[in-house]
């Protein structure tokens, strides 16, 4: 009699995993309650959220006042969004004459029209986009915003404000800081001692001074040195101050990237017969900048947020405008400042967060060919 071996003739169907490792309960156990310490932290965190979130929601939504003409509407305990509504144009455009708001909107559209083809890699013609963004757009934006020519009414910068000033300062500041930073970083690694010492000196001086001091110098000290009657636009002073200040930080970030490029890259480029400029522009900089992306974006986000410091020299950026608007006696009531600041926080967060997300996307794209 042949041995009766057990041989299956068909494959058994797949079984679900043990009950304890599947479903929300198992996920909770694995992630939130895996050890007693983890369980304690989870419980504390939930308690903290339960303690803070409901009052916040009650303040921001349930008790909030959405419509109203003046302080009478907002005497309750909820957020005063009616204030933000009444002042919305002020927060966006500052004191820019309402009849001319379309000019700011057009500039915004022109900017987006340049930024979108720039930001989406699939769209061709980057060379033209760069030309548009760096030459055509600034000139058009300046003419449109400032006016005084081509039949546009003159709008002095003292009437600019709100998000408009925040973006003008931030964008112009970045446009100054980035190329200047690249130049300073390269100069600091130069073989010519004079250039190296000059670049090092500039970087160290600007990094050694707080931004607030720079702004104060620009707004309080500079007018004393200038001959009587000569005044430089305050907004321009602030933009140059911020741009130059951040170019020093940018330079150090980029220098970090330059230092990580192995010597072989330079030597390889030399062996190909590339000139010094070509070596830097075609081989070294593209790699160094890619490596520096997180640092560069970090600096840009810091610059963007630091534009709010211009309020101490009485320029009305978004935050300054909100702060000033809370001093309107028609809206003098307890809930108004908090509502204004909450609004500012949401806008700043939205803009900074999108910048950070975009930088992650670029980083992943640039790193696609070079797994680490």
């Amino acid at each position: 009699m042949a041995p009766r071996n057990f041989v299956r003739t068909e494959i058994i169907p797949a079984q679900p995993p043990p009950a304890g490792t599947l479903g929300p309960l198992a996920w909770l156990r694995a992630h939130l309650f895996s050890t007693p310490a983890n369980a304690a932290i989870t419980i504390l965190a939930v308690l903290f959220l339960a303690w803070t979130i409901p009052p916040l929601i009650r303040w921001a939504f349930v008790d909030a006042v959405w419509t109203g003409e003046n302080r009478e509407a907002c005497v309750g305990a909820g957020a005063c969004w009616a204030f933000v509504r009444a002042k919305f144009d002020l927060f966006m455009y500052g004191q820019y004459p309402p009849a001319q708001h379309w000019r700011v909107n057009v500039v915004g559209l022109l900017f987006v029209a340049g930024l979108v083809p720039m930001a989406i890699p699939a769209i061709p013609g980057k060379r033209w986009t760069v030309l548009y963004l760096l030459v055509v757009f600034p000139v058009a934006a300046f003419i449109l915003l400032r006016g005084g020519m081509f039949g546009l009414t003159d709008v002095p910068t003292t009437r600019w404000g709100g998000l408009l000033v925040t973006l003008v300062v931030a964008v112009t500041g970045i446009v100054i800081a980035f190329p200047l930073g690249v130049l300073l970083a390269l100069a600091r690694r130069s073989r010519l001692p004079l250039i190296r010492v000059l670049a090092t000196g500039l970087i160290e001086i600007w990094r050694g001074v707080p931004l607030v001091t720079v702004l104060f110098m620009a707004s309080v000290m500079l007018p004393i040195f200038l001959p009587s009657g000569v005044t430089i636009d305050k907004l321009l002073r602030a933009i140059i101050g911020i741009g130059v200040f951040y170019s020093a930080y940018m330079a150090e970030v980029i220098r970090g990237g330059l230092q990580s490029i192995p010597r072989g890259q330079y030597e390889g480029a030399m062996a190909l017969g590339l000139s010094g400029l070509q070596r830097t522009w075609l081989v070294v900089l593209p790699q160094a900048l890619t490596i520096s992306i997180p640092g560069i974006v970090n600096t840009i986000i810091a610059l963007f947020k630091d534009t709010s410091l211009v309020l101490i020299i009485a320029l009305y950026d978004l935050l300054g405008m909100i702060q000033s608007a809370t001093n309107d006696s028609n809206w003098a009531v307890a809930q108004v400042p908090a509502s204004g600041y909450a609004f500012a926080a949401v806008i700043y967060w939205a803009l900074c967060f999108s910048m950070s997300r975009y930088s992650l996307f670029i980083e992943r794209r640039r790193a696609a060919g070079r797994p680490r």
Binding site: F216, P223, I224, S228, G229, A314, N327, P337
Partner: protein, 338 residues
């Protein structure tokens, strides 16, 4: 040849040297077409940006009054918001023509900053905000109590001076930020909060229950606030000063924004001189003779400016008190137009 060039050089230099002695602010302003006015960056009732995006306020209306005197246009002003540190530099450097920014007139500022105060448009003074339920009538009633105060200001010194000189005891609770001091006071940490009175009225407005607090009538310090100009231009100084006096005189004679056209027909010689029907008082300071008429027609008299921005007609509801005319028990007393 060389000598002639040197002479020509001197000739060119002379007017440049002469500029500070006869600085023509009025000419500059007229050439430019607007007055550059330095105001606060945002203070309830004094300088605030309304829902319409325009500047409003007590100090702001003074700027508009000066513009009206020169251009008969209350909007011929560019406002430069300034914070406390940059205000005097802005005036010295010529960035602004006149500083109207709740600036206290003190001897140091008058004597050492190269500027000159053109009068007092608001008599302020340090006072106390107290809970209504304490039923206090004067600050002496705070004997033995606690007072919330912002540290590092003259306010703190005035407070100590006041209590010590009267042999009263008190406990000061100092805070670095004004907002902290206010919220501590609101939370019941102190019996009173002290600051300049004009400030206390707006502080009261921003409290959760404004009716539970009251500003004491007593003032424990003098804070005369007024417009300042550069001290090298007497003509401009006179214009700013007399716009202020015209506003006061107009209130004294009962000339208002509404009735100024009617009052211009008056036979009262004082009114005729003020409104330019008699004499050439405007020309004496380089303006047209109807300068005061234009001021009143565009912004109203002192009382109207006060009521509209900080007084009974505004949310702040500050009482006239010291800022009433001398005929009404206050100390505003303007020299006559004569």
């Amino acid at each position: 040849m060389k000598n002639r060039m040197i002479a020509a050089g001197f000739g060119l230099c002379l007017p440049m040297v002469a500029i500070p002695a006869s600085a023509q602010t009025l000419n500059d302003v007229q050439g430019r077409g607007y007055v550059q006015c330095g105001v606060h960056t945002g203070l309830f009732g004094f300088a605030e940006i309304g829902d319409d995006g325009e500047w409003h306020g007590f100090d702001v209306d003074y700027c508009r009054a000066i513009a009206s005197a020169i251009f008969n246009d209350a909007d011929a002003v560019r406002f430069t918001p300034l914070n406390a540190t940059e205000r005097f530099t802005a005036l010295q450097s010529g960035e602004i023509d006149v500083l109207i920014r709740i600036t206290t007139w003190t001897m140091t500022r008058d004597a050492s900053l190269g500027l000159i105060f053109a009068g007092v448009n608001y008599y302020d003074g340090q006072s106390f905000l107290v809970p209504t339920e304490l039923e206090l009538t004067d600050a002496a009633g705070l004997d033995g109590g606690t007072v919330c105060v912002q540290t590092g200001t003259t306010t703190e010194l005035n407070l100590a001076d006041y209590f010590n000189s009267r042999g009263l005891t008190f406990e000061a609770v100092a805070f670095a930020e004004r907002a902290e001091a206010v919220s501590a006071f609101e939370a019941g940490r102190c019996d009173a909060f002290t600051a300049d009175a004009s400030n206390l009225y707006s502080t009261r407005m921003t409290m959760v229950d404004p009716d539970a607090y009251v500003v004491l009538d007593e003032r424990i310090s003098k804070e005369p606030l007024g417009p300042a100009v550069r001290q090298d231009d007497i003509q401009w100084f006179n214009i700013v000063k007399w716009v202020h006096f015209a506003l006061l005189n107009a209130e004294e004679f009962g000339i208002t924004q509404a009735n100024v056209a009617e009052m211009a027909e008056s036979t009262n010689p004082e009114i005729m001189r003020l409104l330019g029907r008699d004499g050439t008082f405007g020309e004496m300071v380089g303006l047209s003779n109807d300068w005061a008429y234009n001021v009143i027609a565009n912004v109203g008299n002192y009382g109207e400016i006060f009521d509209r921005n900080i007084g009974a007609g505004s949310p702040l509801g500050i009482e006239r008190g010291l800022n009433a005319l001398w005929t009404d028990g206050g100390i505003h007393y303007a020299p006559p137009v004569r």
